[in-house]
Symmetry: C2
Subunit: 569 residues, 2 copies
Amino acid sequence: MKYTQLYTKTNKSGKDFDSINATYLINGGFIDQTMAGVYTFLPLGLRVLNKIEQIVREEMNTIGVEVLMPALSPFALWEQTGRLDTVDVLMKTSGANEASRKKSTNEYVLNSTHEEIITPIAKKFNRSYRDFPFAFYQIQSKFRNEARAKSGILRGREFRMKDLYSFHTSEADLKTYYEKSKEVYTRVFERMGLGHVTYLTLASGGDFTKDYSHEFQVKCQTGEDEIYRVPSTGLCFNKEVTPSKAPAVKQVSTDRAEYKEVEGKGMIGVEVLATFLNISVELTTKTMLYQTDDGKVVAAVIRGGYDINEEKLTKIIGCNSISLADQETVKRVTNAEIGYAGPINLAKEVAIYFDDSCQGRVNFECGANKTNFHSINVNFGRDLEMPEKFYDFKVANAGDLYPETGEAYEVFAAAEVGNIFPLNTKFTVAHSYTYTDEQGKEQPVYMGSYGIGPSRLMGVIVETFHDERGIVWPEAVAPFQVHLISLRGGEDKAAALYSQLTEAKIEVIWDDRPKAGPGDKFSDADLIGCPVRILVGGKTEEGMVEWKKRSEVDSQNITVAEALRRLQK
Amino acid sequence: MKYTQLYTKTNKSGKDFDSINATYLINGGFIDQTMAGVYTFLPLGLRVLNKIEQIVREEMNTIGVEVLMPALSPFALWEQTGRLDTVDVLMKTSGANEASRKKSTNEYVLNSTHEEIITPIAKKFNRSYRDFPFAFYQIQSKFRNEARAKSGILRGREFRMKDLYSFHTSEADLKTYYEKSKEVYTRVFERMGLGHVTYLTLASGGDFTKDYSHEFQVKCQTGEDEIYRVPSTGLCFNKEVTPSKAPAVKQVSTDRAEYKEVEGKGMIGVEVLATFLNISVELTTKTMLYQTDDGKVVAAVIRGGYDINEEKLTKIIGCNSISLADQETVKRVTNAEIGYAGPINLAKEVAIYFDDSCQGRVNFECGANKTNFHSINVNFGRDLEMPEKFYDFKVANAGDLYPETGEAYEVFAAAEVGNIFPLNTKFTVAHSYTYTDEQGKEQPVYMGSYGIGPSRLMGVIVETFHDERGIVWPEAVAPFQVHLISLRGGEDKAAALYSQLTEAKIEVIWDDRPKAGPGDKFSDADLIGCPVRILVGGKTEEGMVEWKKRSEVDSQNITVAEALRRLQK
């Protein structure tokens, strides 16, 4: 392709956007922002996106068959699974003006995911055990009502998505497929050059399973996720589910001081309190009161500096859901205003859970269950019983330890580029989808879902592969393999080489601008980031070209034949 | 591909839908209806759609460069062109539930077309005469708030669209490109096998141009358009713009009878009136009163049986727009209630236009401009002046004549599969898009838009190529070239042939169902409609296969080598 036929231009004096991917992709002429979180893929960008999607497609074809589902769907399908009200990024459509609403007042859901659409289709065609297992996938645009779109094409209101849905006759068969999908996903990211920075990460299973779901996370400063990696095994957890042990508190003294209740009016919050009491935050204690869905009141006690991970806590309690106790309940069980709860002298009805971060402290603080009062110099075994068991219901912090081995986590930011999810029977039950087994009995269908975001991947690749001059595309997704530059006097040679490369089916972009100077052409080549730059004209001798890899500093003068040989291998 | 890996099934006892394309595509397992006008493309259907889109893509690449624009856009872009309120199929998005609206109350337009999006992009990159001409195109899903989606995938609320936009420095350059686009479009439809039933048709230029726009119409019973074709030249008009001359009225008598005003209370409408007066409908007259945008009152007089084409009439009057006169105006100029207007004794301020259908009648009827009264036995030159000129502002009827030659039109139903539109400066002016010419002066940019509907095309192809047993796909868009059937005992041979064909890169679907009988396999092959059916097993001899073209009745026994030779040519 000729540069002048892209009909877009680089903008080397362009402003910096909120992320590296936005800056390089917009200034390089790959994408154009239509509005926050919504982009047009320009000719260069679409080439990259297509390559990413083709790699995804080739790999998905080994475990499923491609379909194309619509963006619109009726409300009824979403009502059936109860997600119409709960998916907080869901959008709907309606007529945009009077004339349109006069034609039809119908509203439709604009799908953010397609479990609701694929399940009835799967059910329509596959009802016998003989039809299983099977999987459908698609690659198309999805829509999410994001409060704040950001990080270029990493988080958009409209974005490209590959979503695959698998169907099984048993949980065991789902698991087998699920494990296979991990291998396929790993291959996808390896093929794009991201293998070395992609981490298979355990994440929340949501309502669907007590097991984890799995995310493929690319280490990346712009990423929104925080990954906790166990150095000795490489095991990775998303912060939201990281099992963690708090590092031991540095003890000031091991002598037990005298238990006291001190007045600290309005001293709520561990930082304020620590300063007021002149102790370290680690010696303060947070006591949070919750109500469970089955009507019990629970106190969760954790040391200052930690937050409570309610998903962990819910599992520990063994109930379906918890919510913060209301004011009335807090007053009843603590005899105090909100903010002064502590584990000593709570009403008998309250079950008290201690996080392990509370362990091993001497002379700690906690709420006194008396408005404006705090207990200090509290010690287990004296002021309150030593708990039978300590739990882990904390939100992990950097510096925390992996409980199994006691080693400190490596913590890094990452962007999620794929996720796989054992949905089990959540959607099939909602759509009354069963199959007939060999004995003629109706049985529940098991389901998994598997996502990859191609447009986000494009952004993550730029975040991963760039230098101060621009993008350094991996070969597999580069818009072109060769960026051909002709300097004055080299036009004819360039035209000949361009034909030769094109005939050899080597993807080449020829910067054929007659008026652009060498400096402009070089810096554009760096910004656009094709793997190889070939220069003809200028000082190159007859039959020779200057060969330079984008990822290397030095160039070489080689023959045209040698250049072709290198490109064809 | 193996039939059992499509994970969909045919439904040979399936019901008939509202159109042939819906019936065969749904029952054949190509598409699934998610809701009225919204479909999922199943594996078979997606293969066909991809082939259609790839043909479109290859042809468009000869005249433009591909991009991918978003489905969402901000209201501001549509306000700028004034189309936010006027495009009556436009949809918008908003949060679908409380939780979503809490995140963001923003609303966006769901694009039904992309002039509003591409024009600012073109403007951003191309401002000098040197940058022109150029064209961007995309292939993606579009959305329309249809009152009633119908005819399978011929008219949907969500559908696939290729839209191309070209930009030019002059109207002449736009015209040159426009003519070239006709050739490219013609090639697209020829490649899909539709060349012989596709008609380049003149259609309305809308607000954009006084010239026609052009539609590519495929003759097709399910089509929504009516085409008027001039037999001697092949020139085609969409009904909406067909120039037409009414055939002469059969005269009962040429003697002028006595002019009378007769009472016919509430006799409004030509049919009712003709019966009441015992005359033919052709002798009745409709007189419609309009107000023009520049404040004039106009009477349009046309013979019974015809409707007024307001677009034609507006052009004849030479104003920008017309609307039916309000009650007050009608009363003022006719001295009567609505329904009794006629060309005799109208207020002087009214300009009267006669359609040519009024010509040559003797003793005709018209409204008497007196409530409940009708003039009969009216004659030009006696009861009212012979008009200086007769016009053509009628909606053409079957049986009408092409004015230039006087020959009767051939009239047929057709489905629009493409259209091209000289937009001129409508959108570039709205977006203040000018270019700098060689003298450094700012000049207006000219623009054209060019659409093709791939999903509709898929439906139109089925409407065109089918028989009573199913679809007969043209080779270029068939989901597979070969439908391989193995009968009992032929499984191993089929497996071997399947490998051979696959290696030779011949697209083959192998009906590998172990339990299906020959009858089922044959009728499925006919319903699905691949160009060639190859049968192994059953009575076929060693080394031989049964070869049958879907479009032919007879089968032949040929060697495997011969089958391969035929498929590779």
